[in-house]
Symmetry: C2
Subunit: 418 residues, 2 copies
């Protein structure tokens, strides 16, 4: 499993999207399918999350020109900065279909009918195969059961429902203080393929009981996403349906956050901890992955340069394959650093490889240094690998997360339609 990083003032807790007071969730297997699909068995494929009271809401979406129909409907529904719940399905992405928007609206209506809320209260999302008409019947049939069972303990059922090729549930929650009040923030996320830095890059839903304006929520989300989800790449493909949305129901009773300041910063810190953990889980569970690769680029003279270099390393297919083979082929790291579109002096580049088994320098001032292949192998045999790249004397740094490239990535994406 992924190691969690300690942050002062944040305590990890259970319950995912139901960790914060006032949020119920549930998920069921309603039997969605698409042409060419393998039978998904009885895995949940439909989920609903609702808050006991109205929430400030904000979301970020994929930058792909091809956008899933649910994105259009969600945009409309949270244009006022408010929402009460989420309705989401897996298996079928409801994208590139003539009647996609109509079907996405129908999903909101079905959720509304069965919860007593209104259709425009819902964030709607779909993930799965692109370009296959979404059958609405299984959703209509499953919705009463989802809504009847909505529970403060329903996180697990909902979390399963958003999984596609994910091999593990991805959820996290933290408790923290805001102006003397204990607040909670939790989230769930689905991977595992078609994942590449570019606004959101996956489906993720964050809930919190913090009292915050939707303008501040939007501001915080757009800040934090840049250093978390947007720094993950599994395969370089930016999906069509991705969104990350946050709902804040205010039940913690803190003084409402309406502007930048100490409380806003603390809120951003919480969002960072939640999204950082989900980002690392997503990378580690990238399709076929056996290892998490983290690249930290430091010494850059701009944040942009640090980010581009870090991303370039974790995106390199050749390096990803070498990590799978636990081969300290650092030339591939330097190659990826070299083709990154940023200005720096390659003669100043230092590279170290590290993991909990140790840390060794492999490159200094752009040239190889001698190291023990045996020690390198030991470091790379761990499940979480960190590559440290220093590109000069600048003060900026950035981290990016990816995974190794394995036979199973090819199997998952070559052997059947996922």
């Amino acid at each position: 499993m992924i190691s969690k990083t300690d942050f002062d003032g944040f305590e990890y807790t259970d319950g995912g999207v139901c960790a914060a007071p006032g949020f119920k969730a549930w998920g069921v297997h309603c039997g969605l399918t698409h042409a060419g699909a393998i039978d998904s068995g009885d895995k949940n494929d439909l989920a609903v999350i609702v808050s006991d009271c109205e929430c400030s809401a904000a979301a970020v979406y994929t930058t792909n020109k091809v956008k899933g129909a649910p994105i259009q409907v969600t945009r409309e529904n949270i244009a006022d900065g408010r929402a009460r719940g989420v309705v989401v399905n897996s298996v079928n992405a409801n994208t590139c279909n003539a009647d996609g928007v109509e079907k996405a609206r129908k999903m909101c209506e079905l959720a509304a009918e069965n919860t007593g809320l209104s259709a425009s209260d819902f964030i709607v999302a779909s993930t799965g195969v692109i370009g296959q008409p979404l059958p609405i019947e299984p959703i209509a049939k499953g919705m009463p059961e989802v809504c009847k069972n909505l529970s403060y303990d329903g996180n697990d059922e909902a979390c399963e429902a958003i999984m596609t090729t994910d091999t593990m549930k991805k959820e996290v929650a933290v408790k923290f203080e805001l102006g003397g009040k204990t607040c909670t923030m939790g989230g769930m996320l689905k991977g595992s393929g078609m994942i590449h830095p570019n606004m959101a890059t996956t489906l993720s839903f964050i809930t919190t009981d913090v009292n915050i304006s939707h303008e501040c929520l939007r501001h915080a989300l757009s800040d934090i996403i840049k250093n978390t989800l947007n720094m993950v790449s599994v395969d370089g493909d930016t999906s069509t349906n991705d969104m990350c949305c946050v709902m804040a129901n205010g039940m913690a009773g803190n003084e409402r956050i309406t502007k930048e300041g100490k409380d806003f910063s603390q809120f951003e810190n919480a969002l960072f901890v939640v999204l950082l953990n989900l980002s690392r889980m997503m990378a580690r569970d990238g399709e076929g992955a056996t290892k998490l690769i983290e690249c930290v680029c430091s010494g850059a003279d701009s944040e942009r340069a640090a980010k581009i270099v870090a991303k370039s390393v974790i995106t390199s297919s050749l390096f990803k394959a070498a990590v799978f083979g636990e081969d300290a082929n650092w030339g591939r790291i330097l190659c990826a650093v070299g083709y990154a579109d940023a200005d720096f002096d390659i003669q100043q580049v230092d590279v170290d490889i590290s993991s909990k088994a140790g840390k060794i320098p492999v490159c200094r001032s752009g040239a190889g240094v001698e190291f023990s292949e045996e020690e390198a192998k030991k470091i790379l045999s761990e499940e979480e690998i960190t590559i440290l790249v220093s590109i000069g004397n600048g003060e900026f740094r950035a981290a990016a997360w990816g995974c190794d490239l394995t036979y199973d990535y090819v199997k998952i994406n070559g052997d059947y339609r996922s």
Copy 2:
């Protein structure tokens, strides 16, 4: 094998870099190695090509900030637009080594000593593992044998010497007319990994007997490379050592080409045919590849847009894996079209998949159309697949070439240091 395209006025011929009169070549196994290498058996790893008389010479190089030492030496040696030969090794890239430039110069000196030419007459190139000191002894030992055996029939031996993970030799030659004279142009190229559009992308050597100034040669090479080698991607990694160089020895006796015009255009056509064939061979023999993927984007309102979209499709890991699985998962094509960084209306996008087994539409106006999965499977079971993407009513088009993503790509790059 790769199908050759017919072009009016060009006739394919044998002999690769020795097809044009006046060019001799040879290659030997000199026993180069590097730390962690598997034994390369007795595969040739050192080659020399020489012309009987002085040549106009031009080259393009990788844009990676990390540049192999041979590139610096080649730049110096052909700064005057002239060369007599090429010396090249595989196995070790002579990159990121403190004494790399010195060793590259030494390779030229050794070639000079054994041919009676001068060191500055040589283009020098290396390919293989990055960051391992290049042992000069095997080269010094092998050079007399290479040079002693230089032959007008030596193309095969030289071609083998530049191979790394290549599974087949890549060579082509054509005959054509220039002002009533029969001219010949031939070339050889090595793949197969660390290949991505960005100036040259591999080692390739072109020889011709055309009489042309080095200024015109440089101009033609920089024109043609953009639509051939730079439109190939195997894995998205731009190598550190790549160069494509052309030597023209003038022995065809045509009126010297010194400016644009009919003869210059015909010369560019010949260079296009040679580099197009080598590009397709390189893509087809991408590491682990079982299929050549060609994407033709038309209807663009700029050449840039057409190129970016075509490249985006052939670069998508998800789509490459689907082609390996012979799965008509066209949603992945549309996804890759959608995240291409170009302006167009996604609602105008049409996609067809084709091969010699047939052609079917899979997407019209950005939405899926019904098609027979069986027919699609038949089309995708061929070895050369063409994806046709139309993005509007513009007049520009571009082609790009790639390959499927397979278990063997992972094996080649994960299992041992290559």
